[in-house]
């Protein structure tokens, strides 16, 4: 179960593969970096807890696919007890 997402802005190159695979969770900001779409119009690179995501119902598989599709491995996924799931 994925509980938390964060994007390393130093690694992110704006290839936008995450936007394509999980467009309800990720978008690019004005600096061309990936951000996590959260409730109450909050958008930043995280870390963002599951409860805060605008799309709380997104499948783990979709998130995993998005993270795996990143060509710089800039997306970090965490499960229970902050255990890193990917990369």
């Amino acid at each position: 179960m994925i509980k938390k997402i964060s994007v390393d802005r130093n690694l992110c190159i704006g290839a936008a593969s995450c936007v394509l695979t999980a467009g309800t969770v990720f978008e690019l900001d004005g600096e061309n970096k990936a951000i996590i779409i959260q409730k109450n119009s909050v958008k930043n690179s995280g870390p963002a807890e599951k409860g805060a995501w605008a799309d709380e119902a997104v499948a783990d598989e979709t998130l995993l696919l998005a993270a795996q599709s990143c060509p710089t491995k800039a997306i970090f996924l965490f499960g229970e007890n902050d255990k890193q799931v990917y990369p």
């Binding site: 130093n10 704006g14 290839a15 394509l20 690019l28 004005g30 061309n32």
Partner: protein, 412 residues
Amino acid sequence: MEKKIKYLIVGGGVAGTTAAETIRQKDDAGTVAIVSDEPYRFYSRIMLSKPNFFLEKIPFEQVWLKDEAWYGKNRVELLAGRKAIKLDSAGKTITLDNGDILNYEKLLLSIGGCARPWPIAGAEKRGIFYLRTLDDAKGVISMVKTSKQAISVGGGFISFEMCDMLRLAGIDVTLLLRESYFWEPMLDETSGRMIEDALEKGGVKIMRNTEVSEIIGENAVEAVITKKGEKIPCQIASVGIGVFCPFTWVAEAGVKVNRGILSDEYLETSVPDIFVAGDSAEFKDLVLGEQIQLGNWVNAQMQGRTAGLNMTGAKNLFSMVSFYTTQGFGITIGFVGDVRPEKDRLIISRGSKEMNSYARLLLKDGKLMGATLINRTQELGPLSKLIEKRTNLAGKESELADVSFSLANLLK
């Protein structure tokens, strides 16, 4: 040596590797092999032109997207440093440059694009780079440390990123454009000039309508001479003048090729059991209704997935709107969909040079085909959705041109 392989993949980049991974998920027993003409495992080719990678702000190790153990664990045989030189589609074999013959049941051609060679005598001298492979990148990384002057030839994503990296490394950069503005004729003049302004503010000297006629230097490049007779000293010449692949060995086997290797909407070529994915594919794009070739990471990745599934016997349509973005010199550039300015396109401008934010939306028969964006990459999401949904935009031209109008409203 002759060997039987159920799923043979030629090309070890993102399309080929994703296909291998997908195949293994669906078929646990079938043999899978990847032939790669580079002596490396799968790496992030997209990272090669990124300044942070060059300047070693991103650790070099980050370039590897699979560790060595991945191949063994997934029983994917990697034949690295080997080139496929012959295809026999009737006998279903591939011949490698060491004479080995590989017999396949299903074949994937994920051979990528090749940099168009610089048609000038001496273009093989040290210091001249195309930036296509990891070895090219390693060469540039080491040259950057000792060089003072560089030229970049051609207008495009790679050229833009190279200029950025070279300037960040403190090198004097001259950009040589054969055309009258950056990225002509793919972009319009307004977009081209916006990019040029950013480059010039960043210290890049731009020479337009300029071609090199001579390369000076014994073994390594020392200077170039333009057709107008100007001499430009340089220790690095980065050449990005487009992509061109002859695909002769593929065509000789009876596989239909055009600019790329032609395929249907399942990514199968004109010859059964031979599939194509990635930059080398000129595929039937279901969204746009046209035969199209794209050179971007996400397209290659997703095509690798679809081709891999279809090689295992599935029948999945490939349908996706892909994009590519870059940033540098304080601006962002994004392309989404098909950005070729074909004659039948209606092009709508959104924003302006004065606003420092400008997009061009390319429509055909009221449907969005593609868009180019400068400092508007936030609109990639809604634009790709408008393309994908084939939203009828006829009569919405003034809204599309109005930057205060949110494109998301058209999706409701």
